[in-house]
């Protein structure tokens, strides 16, 4: 019995404490360091936040660089696929071309306008309505967390808790701000709780995210008379967001009040951040 216990002790000591060939740190030391790091994560101080911001900004840029070959491969694949379908689409394009010729003047104007707007968004110029536009930099769809990384941070006066919009529609809130990047927690995430008001019924409620499924309205009064198609806006309660930002509409299914968002969260390239807190 004692021998067996000794063997176990030797094996554990050998696995945890021995550094082995080409190992600079022992496992035990690194595990302790990780636990300390998790404890430090609960502390919010300016120097710590600065260090976190620098680390996160560096890793986001690194991730962007590493993802480039994959993105290029996908573009190349799409390019090749388009070439394969070239002859197939030829007759269709010929008809379309005739139609487009008639509207050429109009489309030239639209192209010019589009180029100007894109330039405006790329340069991230703040509009007079205190919105800051930013590009979605990383969209790593984790099964656990629904979030985006955008290419603006405290350099554009973005702060934690600000509302993120797709056009004018609410899609989430800022949960993490670095110098040159921020993270948006989408309204569909499990950790997302957004104060909202229904229209025209005027009930206050909380929109709770459920990961892959649609968000639901919770904490509604028992005798509510909410119907399919009722609109939902931010309520502005507790001073979190400006009131009246459109979010989605009601769809009642199996006695659950679901929220169909106005924006498709999988199709977002640019976002606006509302710098106005309520």
């Amino acid at each position: 019995m004692d021998t067996r216990r000794d063997d176990f002790g030797i094996a554990v000591r050998s696995a945890f404490l021995a550094k082995g060939n080409q190992q600079r740190f022992s496992l035990f030391a690194l595990i302790i360091f990780s636990i300390v790091l998790i404890f430090i994560e609960t502390i919010e101080t300016k120097p710590l936040n600065t260090i976190r911001s620098i680390i996160k900004d560096t890793i986001y840029r690194g991730s962007l660089t590493v993802s480039l070959p994959k993105k290029s491969f996908v573009s190349f694949f799409d390019f090749t696929k388009n070439h394969v379908k070239l002859y197939e689409n030829y007759s269709h394009l010929k008809i379309e071309n005739n139609k487009l010729r008639n509207n050429i003047a109009k489309s030239e104007f639209l192209e010019l306008e589009n180029a100007q707007l894109r330039k405006l968004i790329d340069e991230q110029v703040a509009s007079s309505s205190s919105l800051v536009s930013a590009r979605v930099m990383l969209d790593k769809q984790s099964p656990y967390l629904n979030s985006f990384i955008i290419s603006s941070g405290s350099n554009k006066k973005i702060k934690n808790g600000m509302a993120a919009l797709d056009g004018v529609n609410f899609i989430g809130r800022i949960v993490d701000v670095n110098f040159f990047s921020s993270r948006i927690l989408l309204v569909s995430d499990l950790n997302s709780k957004i104060p909202a008001i229904t229209e025209p019924s005027g009930f206050h409620a909380i929109i709770s995210g459920h990961g892959k499924n649609e968000p639901t309205l919770e904490y509604l009064p028992e005798n509510h008379n909410i119907k399919n198609g009722d609109k939902i806006y931010t309520s502005g309660k507790e001073g979190v967001f400006s009131p009246g930002i459109p979010i989605g509409e009601v769809k009642i299914e199996n006695n659950k009040v679901k929220v169909i968002l106005f924006s498709n969260l999988n199709q977002i390239t640019f976002v606006n951040i509302d710098l106005n807190k309520n």
Binding site: I35, L37, S67, S142, P143, V175, N191
Partner: protein, 164 residues
């Protein structure tokens, strides 16, 4: 010249597990998200290489890769790093107590390693008041366990070819 090219290739082969681990962390592919299930590929990479060739993956690098995954996926600092170190610890223990390495033996020992790792992962997220879908975590554990033999075979073929 030829010798130097050979050395470069050899160096690249030696660094392959490390490069693979960092690539999957930085590109955000630690968790392969398929339609009905997710596979935690970094757990498999770390477990296999710590078990078979511990000198190919330094514990410091494993820790760093965990930190990168935490940042990319927006988890609190240290949660993935701790999980990866726990799975490395189990692999290191299994390496010490076993003599012959077989697919079945590895696969069986990977099961308690996954349970312990996910327990630590759950506890650290619970401590930080961070809510995740635990059903997805459960499915992830099952699918990671199922995917292990496939990657085991691929890595073993790589080891045999390169004679690392």
């Amino acid at each position: 010249m030829a010798l130097s090219l050979k050395n470069t290739i050899l160096k690249f082969i030696q660094l392959f597990p490390l490069l693979l681990l960092f690539y999957i962390s930085l590109s955000g592919n630690s968790l392969i998200n398929l339609k009905y299930f997710t596979i935690n590929i970094s757990y498999i990479v770390v477990y296999y290489w710590v078990l078979r060739k511990p000198e190919a993956l330094g514990y410091g690098f494993i820790f760093l890769s965990g930190i990168i995954t935490d940042v990319i996926y927006g988890f609190p600092f240290g949660t993935h790093a701790l999980s990866l170190l726990v799975i490395s610890a189990v692999a290191a223990y299994v390496r010490v107590v076993t003599v012959r390495i077989t697919l079945l033996g590895d696969w069986i020992s990977f099961f308690p390693a996954l349970i312990l790792t996910n327990l630590v992962y759950f506890m650290s997220l619970y401590f930080l008041n961070f809510e995740i879908d635990y059903f997805i975590l459960f499915i992830n554990s099952i699918s990671t366990l199922c995917a292990y033999p496939l990657l085991w075979v691929i890595f073993s073929i790589f080891l045999n070819i390169t004679k690392l």
